[in-house]
């Protein structure tokens, strides 16, 4: 350990070795796969909504990766079947998440299919789930004295409603809701061999 160059080269080689296993080989296995039959590309509104999902940081509290019933009761909670890489082909950036301060959202569009519910919930989560810790997102909405002909009016219970006027969804709230409603991976799984089967074959 008396020379700089051998030390640097060996250190680099070890990281290259790790990169082969953690980055290159998984990429070789996963990158070329076909989207699962039943998975649709996002529409323009859904893609814009997904951008809000990412830039507001929804994925810091919600995962999008139900575990198998071998490991956890995720399917029984209505969160859907365990996912495979074929379910995420259109996702960039990925939103797998690492935290469940709130529930998994991989199939929230199927579990909670009402646009009105989502709009109210985004405006004030405690209007529909009293103990919720989710932040309110009032800046995705505006309060108007009267709704215009094209406005989407949001139903808000009296205790959470503004003193005057009606709550109207901005385009960002409508897009975000469109994205949430698009989250439905209830079609049959494809390429189950590419997910972690370490807890059992049901994977």
């Amino acid at each position: 350990m008396n020379k700089v160059l051998p030390l640097a080269v060996t250190a680099f080689a070890i990281l290259a070795f790790a990169t082969l296993f953690l980055v290159i080989l998984p990429a070789a296995q996963i990158r070329g796969i076909e989207p699962a039959p039943g998975l649709e590309p996002y529409t323009e509104a859904e893609a814009r909504g997904r951008e809000h999902y990412v830039d507001l940081g929804c994925y810091y509290c919600h995962s999008q990766q139900p575990r198998s019933s071998d490991q956890a009761p995720d399917p029984q909670r209505g969160w859907g079947r365990p996912t495979t890489p074929a379910d995420y082909v259109y996702d960039e950036p990925h939103t797998l998440g690492t935290m469940r301060t709130g529930p998994d959202l991989m199939n929230v569009g199927k579990r909670l299919p009402s646009e009105g519910w989502h709009l109210t919930h985004l405006y004030q989560p405690r209007a529909v789930s009293p103990s919720s810790l989710m932040p309110a997102y009032p800046f995705l909405f505006e309060v108007k004295a009267e709704a215009g002909p094209d406005d989407r009016v949001v139903a808000v219970p009296e205790e959470h409603a503004p003193e005057e006027g009606v709550v109207v969804a901005k385009q960002s709230a409508l897009d975000l809701t469109a994205y949430l409603l698009s989250l439905d991976r209830s079609y049959p799984p494809a390429r189950r061999d590419l997910r972690d089967l370490g807890y059992g074959e049901e994977g």
Binding site: V4, A11, D91, H94, M99, D196
Partner: protein, 522 residues
């Protein structure tokens, strides 16, 4: 396919074991020519002689204690100062994010104030602002000392300082406005990352050039970690930020990067500093210098492959998850090696631990490294991960590593090096003690809250008979506890910053260092 998968796993595992065996052989056969006498390379006296304790705050300046003429001194002090600014800013973001988790209707009026952005601004401020800048400042102080050569290309370092700080500032502002790359630890937009990459190169060049200008035969262990980190971080940062990844494949790159930022950037910064400051303050070499060799190479080998334990039970191939689980458990090897070396040293010199506050910070941080790593190895085991994954338990663990370990080592090292560089003693030493107790008590509250609350959250989530909402409701008192702990830690950081400001302004009248005889070791 299963054959290929098994083959790849077996190959990696066997290669790791062979490399480890090679290391053990090489150490035993003195291939690396490392002797215990080399451990004393950091002392001014020759090996075997008595080394007086070295910490101006606790023992007074030694005859040659101050180094106010050091090349690059202004750069190092500015790095420390700006790191501290990021620490205060990042702590404020963190405290706001923590409060928002149990006060969800507080500050909801504007998008930049929402939890998802505050949390992210906190992480990027403390990792790329505070810890990275403090680590580079410490490296610029230690590398010239270890290689006994003046710091080279100081103007490049200044350019790095400007570029890096502008990069982090634009990055954090971008996140506030919703411009993000949208992956944990990689949120700063890749267009802005270019500034950080160039700035990072400007930081690396003076350090490497100093190493090449060395006047010594042996390279001390601290420098192995710093040279390693200087090779690793640029590779990680550039590969992960290339805008070519997508879907699950992107998730594997994401966690390869994110865990290696901890393992191959922040950990070398912390372990390297502790390997220098602990023996230097005490005046005795580390316990077993040869063991430090095993610790370093085993860290490189095992830590670099642990990232996929963040995707256990997820939509990634079984073999790569299992590989990371195995390597996570193998991390016991380097961690125990470092633990023996560092803890035996300060543990058998408790007189210094009692007298020197900088040493207390560093030793406390070193212990937290051992604990954080043991905990991390256990968390990667599938049965335990099933409970702790997706819960606040993980957040507690992350802070045990990045905060209680790396940040505390940085605090101690800055308390040690600032008087040496300025020739001024800390004007309010009692603030150092107050800082220590605020962050120690605050962190204890923080960690216990999240660990207990996170575990209960995880067990509730696994119980199909309990509604999911229960797993969230039960965390509320623990999240409140976390905010209390975080507030105490933030208060400690304010005292740290105050002391730095006081030292910068109050000492002008007595620029001449107070020279006192070194205190004898008791």
């Amino acid at each position: 396919m299963s054959l290929t998968i098994g083959m790849m796993m077996a190959l990696s595992f066997v290669a790791s074991l062979v490399a480890l065996a090679f290391l053990i052989w090489a150490v035993a056969a003195r291939q690396f020519r490392v002797t215990q006498a080399d451990a004393e390379a950091i002392f001014e006296e020759s090996a075997g002689a008595d080394h007086p304790p070295d910490d101006p705050t606790s023992f007074g300046f030694r005859a040659e204690g101050a180094d106010t003429a050091m090349t690059g001194r202004g750069l190092i002090l500015t790095l420390v100062g700006l790191a501290t600014v990021w620490l205060i800013v990042g702590s404020a973001f963190g405290l706001i994010a923590s409060l928002k988790l149990h006060l969800p209707d507080w500050l909801t009026g504007q998008a930049p104030l929402t939890f998802g952005r505050m949390r992210t601004m906190h992480l990027n401020s403390v990792i790329y602002g505070w810890l990275s800048l403090a680590g580079i400042g410490v490296a610029m102080f230690l590398v010239p000392r270890i290689f006994k050569a003046p710091l080279q290309a100081v103007p490049l370092g200044w350019a790095g300082l400007v570029l890096w700080n502008i990069g982090v500032a634009i990055g954090v502002y971008a996140i506030a406005t919703g411009w993000t790359d949208g992956q944990e630890w990689l949120e700063i937009p890749w267009q802005v990352d270019g500034l950080l990459a160039v700035g990072g190169a400007c930081f690396a060049a003076p350090l490497v050039m100093t190493a090449l200008r060395r006047e010594i035969h042996h390279i001390y262990v601290t420098a192995w970690y710093y040279l390693g980190a200087l090779v690793w971080f640029p590779v990680l940062f550039v590969v992960a930020n290339l805008p070519i990844h997508s879907g699950v494949q992107q998730a594997t790159v994401n966690w390869w990067f994110a865990h290696n930022v901890l393992g191959l950037w922040l950990t070398p910064i912390g372990v390297g500093a502790a390997y220098y400051v602990l023996p230097k303050i005490i005046g005795k070499p580390i316990y077993s210098y040869r063991l430090s060799l095993l610790g370093f190479w085993a860290l490189a080998l095992f830590y670099s492959q642990v990232g996929m334990h963040h995707l256990i039970g997820g939509p990634v191939p079984t073999w790569v998850v299992t590989l990371s689980v195995v390597q996570s458990v193998m991390m016991f090897v380097p961690v125990i090696a470092v633990a023996i070396n560092q803890h035996v040293l300060w543990g058998s010199n408790l007189w210094a631990f009692k007298r020197s506050l900088p040493l207390r910070f560093v030793a406390f941080g070193a212990v937290m490294y051992t604990l954080a790593s043991f905990q991390g190895s256990m968390e990667a085991v599938r049965a335990i991960n099933t409970v702790t994954h997706f819960t606040h338990y993980t957040v507690g663990h992350a802070h045990l590593g990045a905060y209680a370990f790396v940040s505390l080592v940085m605090f101690g090292t800055i308390y040690y090096l600032t008087p040496i560089l300025t020739g001024r003693l800390w004007p309010m030493p009692w603030l150092i003690s107050a800082h220590f107790w605020l962050v120690a008590v605050g962190f204890a509250i923080y960690f216990v809250s999240l660990t207990v609350g996170g575990w209960l959250q995880g067990t509730a989530m696994l119980d199909a008979t309990r509604d999911f909402v229960e797993s969230m409701e039960l965390t509320v008192p623990y999240l409140q506890g976390r905010s209390v702990g975080g507030a105490l830690m933030t208060a400690g950081h304010v005292l740290f910053a105050l002391n730095l400001v006081a030292l910068a302004f109050a000492g002008r009248g007595e620029a001449e260092p107070r020279r006192t005889a070194p205190a004898p070791a008791e």
